[in-house]
């Protein structure tokens, strides 16, 4: 019982918190993948840009909350400009070019941040301090806020995609962009706005997780691999699958690190992914024929 409360429960909560934030990151990735057929290698850098934009805004306004609104908007603009300038000319080409292009963009973003802010590790102080007694243990308030915020955001995104006209248009574009174009929707604008939205989501995840982790130019490189695994596990292009897989990965990671050296956990997660891909090649919820 003591073991349960003192070790297992906090670790489970850690996993849930991390999984929810990872879900935000993976969601943007999977929507872009469904829409443009491009595995966005720069997504991790947008996540990283979110944290640094947050540092900049906090530096000016001294407020984490202002940053939480302004930083994702800034990164969203960066995303929109990037999409128009570099991805739009590639629509009619093979997805391979988009993959390689975003790899190049990732290098540019990472180096730009290193030049502006330096390569050192930085911290953002949690805006909420203290901890709450919960189920016989105490848990940091900021992490509870993180869990709540991520869940509300995920719910909002779900409502957006199911209840609003804009969300339905995006889903239609994922299904069949050409048909949507034929129905008179400006598909290029849909693509650009969706990319901007996905960038803003990644930035939001970056800034939300920043007080828990550290901020440094390479931070996206490690996260993006996990996000890729989440997207594959969930099934390419399946939004619900991504969220489920993100929580599964988050829980797995934190539970395994109870019994294993944390570095071995990475191998275990890769192993799980390989097994899933062999047994269920399309992931948890993947549909047949998505970019095969």
């Amino acid at each position: 019982m003591d073991y349960l409360v003192a070790i297992l429960l906090p670790q489970l909560l850690h996993g849930l918190v991390f999984g929810a934030a990872l879900g935000l990151l993976a969601l943007g990735l999977t929507v872009i993948f469904g829409l443009l057929g491009v595995m966005n290698f720069a997504h991790g850098e947008l996540y990283m840009l979110g944290a640094y934009a947050g540092i900049a805004v906090i530096g000016v306004t001294q407020s984490f909350w202002v940053a939480l609104v302004v930083a994702p908007l800034l990164v969203g603009v960066v995303g929109a400009v990037t999409e128009v300038a570099t991805l739009r000319p590639l629509y009619r080409r093979e997805p391979l070019y988009g993959l390689i292009l975003t790899f190049g963009l990732a290098l540019v973003f990472r180096e730009a941040v290193r030049q502006i802010w330096g390569g050192d590790m930085r911290r953002i102080l949690p805006p909420i301090t203290g901890s709450t007694p919960l189920l016989g243990m105490t848990y940091p308030n900021y992490r509870l806020f993180l869990l709540g915020a991520s869940s509300v955001l995920l719910l909002a995104i779900w409502l957006f995609f199911t209840q609003t006209r804009a969300g339905i248009v995006v889903r239609a574009a994922v299904q069949d962009a050409e048909m949507l174009d034929g129905l008179g929707v400006d598909v290029r604008r849909v693509f650009t706005l969706t990319f901007a939205g996905s960038a803003a989501l990644a930035a939001l995840a970056g800034l939300l997780l920043a007080p828990v982790f550290t901020v440094y130019p390479q931070m996206g490189v490690e996260m993006i691999l996990l996000a890729f695994i989440v997207v594959i596990l969930g099934g390419m292009g399946s939004m619900g699958g991504s969220v489920v897989a993100a929580v599964v990965i988050g829980l797995t990671q934190s539970l395994f690190s109870l019994w294993m050296n944390p570095q071995r956990v990475a191998i275990a997660i890769f192993g799980i992914m390989i097994v899933v891909l062999v047994v269920r090649p399309r992931g948890f919820f993947g549909r047949e024929g998505v970019l095969e």
Binding site: M39, L101, L225, I274
Partner: protein
């Protein structure tokens, strides 16, 4: 293969062999030339997959790194024969490549890229955290390999010639492969996998074969690396290194073999040149890559050639 191009190949080879005779070829430039040709050869073997078969491997750094570790492990333990090192590297890389290619070639497109990436990350993580092999420091300060007992490949010049031999043999092998029936089937798979299957070809077997060949060529290249650097570190197999290999292929031009050699050499020289002036060379490389994808998708050589066996070959 036309007589003209084999003459041209022989000329390039002769020029490369004569290169060290130039007065300004110091030790530093020889090592730079070694890197340029080594990574050129690796990019060329990756081109077999990307350019000819249409399979984007994001895990070639693991083949490279495993080759380097194989050599370094043997050299560190006192086995200094070059042939033993190469044989061991072929064995290790071959076994690993068999596993990867079996699972990865069962899937198409993006899945292939991501599966190779994840397998490579497993290898990276293993070496990064295994203290027997030096952990994150890797294996440092290994002695040079010996061609025959008593004759060590211990100078930059000797290493340079070793890499030329490797490059020439690898190029000849790749050239024969892509002009053979086997190569034509690979292009058919790239153009339309289902049609190739309906024609009766066992597509997965062809894909596995070309994966293995590409992986082994890359692994042998990796096995030569500790001779030049005296180390093997986990950073050699970071997934971004795989990305750099792809960049080299793209810069040179997909499906040309010669192009990626130039692309690899260009990349190494660019990195060297830019990094000696500014410390933000990754930004330059990223911008070059974006520029190439947007404005010259066929790469440096591709301006003249169509992808693979397009019109250019038909008229040649």
């Amino acid at each position: 293969m036309s007589r003209v191009s084999s003459w041209r190949g022989a000329l390039v080879l002769a020029a490369l062999v004569a290169l060290p005779a130039l007065p300004f070829m110091s030790k530093f430039y020889l090592l730079l030339a070694f890197d340029a040709l080594l990574f050129g050869a690796i990019a060329m073997s990756l081109d077999l997959l990307i350019g000819y078969t249409g399979l984007v491997s994001f895990g070639h750094a693991a083949f490279f790194g495993l080759g380097a570790y194989s050599t370094a492990i043997l050299l560190e333990r006192g086995v200094v024969s070059l042939w033993a090192c190469l044989g061991f590297a072929v064995l290790v890389v071959g076994l690993y490549a068999l596993l990867v290619s079996y699972f990865a070639t069962a899937r198409r497109g993006i899945y292939f890229a991501l599966l190779t990436l994840v397998f490579a990350e497993v290898v990276y993580t293993f070496f990064r955290y295994t203290q027997t092999f030096g952990g994150s420091d890797g294996i440092q300060g290994v002695p040079p390999a010996q061609l025959v007992p008593g004759v060590a490949i211990d100078t930059p010049l000797a290493n340079y010639y070793a890499v030329i031999v490797y490059l020439a043999l690898a190029y000849a092998l790749c050239r024969v492969l892509v002009t053979s029936h086997f190569g034509k089937v690979l292009v058919a798979i790239r153009e339309n996998e289902d049609r190739a299957r309906f024609l009766g070809y066992n597509v997965q077997r062809y894909k596995m074969a070309v994966c293995m060949i590409s992986a082994l060529l890359t692994g042998v290249g990796g096995a030569l690396y500790p001779g030049r650097s005296a180390f093997a570190t986990p950073d050699l197999m970071l997934w971004t290194v795989s990305g750099e290999f792809i960049i080299m292929v793209m810069i040179g031009g997909l499906g040309t073999l010669g192009g990626p050699i130039i692309g690899g050499a260009f990349f190494v020289l660019l990195q060297e040149q830019v990094s000696s002036y500014v410390d933000w060379y990754f930004m330059v490389i990223g911008l070059v890559l974006v520029f190439i994808v947007l404005f010259m998708p066929r790469g440096l050589l591709g301006f003249r050639r169509m992808l693979g066996f397009g019109q250019w070959r038909a008229t040649a």
